[in-house]
């Protein structure tokens, strides 16, 4: 037992969880904690808006596989975190968000900067805590990290009343906590694994759909071994992008609304579908009734509630993806002779060739997103990490920026949060200072959190922003072109801001390019620079992202 204040106990407990960095913004109700941070070894990175602090913690967590921590004051500080927390919840990212709260005696009295952040964040967190006594803090922090990171990861909120932060108590820091209501099932049921192996052994046209769970579980090597053993083609969901090398002969790229033609066409011909670490989201499957209606489906996920939620399956397996794929591989390698699945692979090859270069890319123009992103891939080293904003930029990145390693493509999939990419890139760079980090952005999204330039410059966290600038809210404009008779409503952004000047105003470097050659030079210059660089790439304002499956339609109805 050791006597200290709640604020001290919080920082001490975070330190014991090996937290290196907190992304945050102070305010009245969290000041006791900020006073302690000053003397601690934990680095604090000052955001300019709490939403960005949450996205930074999110990017940090996805790149490192560790828990990201963000912090804000009560009231507006806490509500500003909400978008970032919801984002982490939808994409299963382990973050712990710490908020200040008004003193205990003021709770429920509508005090200044009071908000019911427990009530607000209940549906968008795995759990949330509001310690009523300082002595509870060490145990609560331990539980928060355990809940955030074990099983299917997700965000946890700790809401600290100001007088709990200042209260002095005897503190006991446990090495372990037992949470009786939270015991995720890590090991798959052997019988289910056998059933899956049997189904896959008999399969003539096996197909693997790999989701974000493969990345979270660090299961890429097992996935690759399994696909090579089965000779099964692999498509990933958008969240799974990077879990299987996109230059592998069995890779078909990303499936779904803006997936590749070959992935969307091939999956419908599968007779056995192995879906791993995916929740069959509508953006991946299109109209669910028309998604592989005749295939037998094996579904591996650590979250039992995902089994049968969106799609009824034949063989459900609840367990950690890594462990399950490993056991499935072992079981299959005993059953399978060296496979010659040539018929199926020939068919896949045929589909690949049939749809090769079917999507139109402007030949005469130089600065089109497809060419820019392919060029960017050429220049960047294989382990460079890319984040994206949300909208057309994101879907072009998914289609044209090939990814070869897990945790090198980081994007807001579930919530689709504009403004995510840039602060996330800053968080990524903090976790991985050894690799270049690039935010593939649109002008609309980047503008939403562009004030994070201040953080990246003053905190010395250099990243590269490539703005595919069409002076439009491009994805909405695309839908208006396709489904609303070209009636543009509130999508034209005009010529402002001047991104070069904007970057320079924050002390960053800004470059506007006029050709693909200039773009290449700008990226090289940015890679050599030790300050954040914003590269403004003007692209045609009315370029569409194709292929596309209109919302609510089946994969068959893909347009390109």
């Amino acid at each position: 037992m050791i006597k200290m204040s709640g604020a001290h106990a919080l920082i001490e407990a975070l330190y014991k969880e090996k937290v290196e960095v907190i992304f945050g913004l102070p305010g009245g109700a969290i000041m006791p904690v900020y006073d302690v941070i000053l003397d601690s070894k934990i680095r604090h990175i000052l955001a300019r808006h709490e939403q960005s602090a949450a996205h930074m913690a999110d990017g940090y967590a996805r790149a490192s596989g560790r828990v990201g921590v963000c912090m804000a004051t009560s009231g507006p500080g806490a509500t500003n975190l909400v978008t970032g927390i919801a984002n982490a919840y939808m994409d299963s990212v382990p973050i712990v968000a710490i908020t200040g709260q008004v003193p205990r005696s003021m709770i429920g009295k509508d005090a200044f900067q009071e908000t019911d952040i427990i009530g607000i964040t209940t549906p968008i967190t795995k759990y949330n805590f509001q310690p009523r006594h300082a002595s509870e803090i060490p145990k609560i922090v331990k539980m928060a990290f355990q809940i955030a990171s074990v099983g299917r990861p997700g965000p946890v909120v700790i809401d600290l009343p100001k007088d709990v932060q200042t209260e002095v108590a005897d503190m006991d820091f446990p090495d372990k906590v037992e949470i009786r209501g939270y015991k995720p099932n890590i090991s798959p049921h052997p019988l289910q694994v056998e059933k899956a192996a049997e189904l896959l052994t008999k399969a003539e046209r096996p197909f693997i759909l790999a989701g974000g769970g493969v990345i979270i579980s660090n299961a890429s090597q097992y996935l690759q071994a399994l696909s090579e053993l089965l000779l099964a083609p692999v498509a990933t969901t958008f969240m799974g992008k990077g879990c299987f090398p996109e230059n592998h002969p069995l890779s078909l790229g990303v499936i779904g609304m803006h997936g590749t033609l070959e992935a969307n066409k091939s999956i419908l011909e599968a007779d056995v579908l192995l879906a791993v670490g995916t929740r069959f989201s509508d953006r991946s499957t299109g109209k669910i009734d028309e998604f592989c209606p005749d295939a037998k489906i094996i579904h591996i996920d650590i979250d039992p509630s995902e089994i049968g939620k969106n799609k009824a399956v034949d063989v459900p397996i609840v367990g950690d993806v890594s462990k399950t794929l490993f056991e499935l591989y072992n079981s299959l390698s005993k059953r399978l002779e060296k496979r010659e699945n040539s018929l199926w692979l020939k068919r896949i090859q045929q589909i690949k060739e049939e749809f090769k270069d079917k999507v139109r890319v402007e030949k005469d123009k130089d600065l089109v997103p497809q060419k820019v992103l392919r060029e960017l891939r050429e220049i960047l080293p294989i382990d460079a990490i890319v984040t994206t904003e949300v909208g057309q930029n994101q879907m072009w990145a998914s289609l044209y920026f090939k990814v070869y390693k897990p945790r090198t493509f980081i994007s807001s999939g579930g919530l689709g949060t504009m403004g995510f990419g840039f602060p996330a890139a800053i968080g990524v760079k903090v976790a991985r200072p050894d690799v270049p980090v690039v935010d593939i952005a649109g002008d609309g999204s980047f503008t939403m959190t562009a004030n994070s330039l201040a953080t990246s410059v003053t905190e010395n966290i250099p990243v590269i922003v490539v703005i595919l600038n069409n002076s439009m809210l491009g994805m909405v404009a695309q839908w208006q072109r396709l489904f609303y008779n070209r009636r543009y409503s509130a999508v034209e952004l005009g010529k402002f801001p001047n991104f070069v000047k904007l970057a320079e105003a924050f002390g960053a470097q800004g470059i506007r390019v006029g050709s693909l050659d200039e773009f290449k030079r700008a990226v090289k210059q940015a890679l050599e620079s030790d300050v954040t660089t914003v590269i403004d790439v003007p692209i045609p304002p009315e370029e569409n992202v194709f292929p596309m499956i209109p919302a609510g339609k089946g994969l068959r109805e893909i347009i390109y």
């Binding site: 549906p123 009786r180 209501g181 939620k309």
Partner: protein, 164 residues
Amino acid sequence: MEEKQVKNYIISTIVENKPGVLHRASNMFRKRGFNIDSISVGPTEHKDLARMTITINGDETTVEQLVKQLSKLIDVIKISVLNPQSSVIRELALIKLHVPDAKARSDIINYANIFRGRIVDVSPASITVEITGTPDKIDAFLSLASTFGIKEIARTGITALVRG
């Protein structure tokens, strides 16, 4: 498409006995669009645990998903779907009835006795009956009592335990 069979389910859970647990559960029902019929919460033999009993009318898939979503809540420790044949199921109802005359009064008392109910309050113009039993039994009494005119009803919702 197969016709989905809809029936009544009783889900019995053991949860942490602390503030906010009911909020987390009801919030989840709302968020996922589950329309539950009743929920009752009360302490158990362990002071840090509570029993939450939920009834829902739905098809098997819906109920399976509801059970999974409930189990996912950190504060839910144990969960089981009760089989009505092997469970004791009870609900308590307080029914306040109009009493127009002395005959009605004696009729109500008779009916209450037949249903093993108790008269818990009497006033010149009304009488309040307490009935405990399965929801069917309470419904049966209510339909009988409605001929007198029902002033007010309070029902607790189902609570239940597995037999043996």
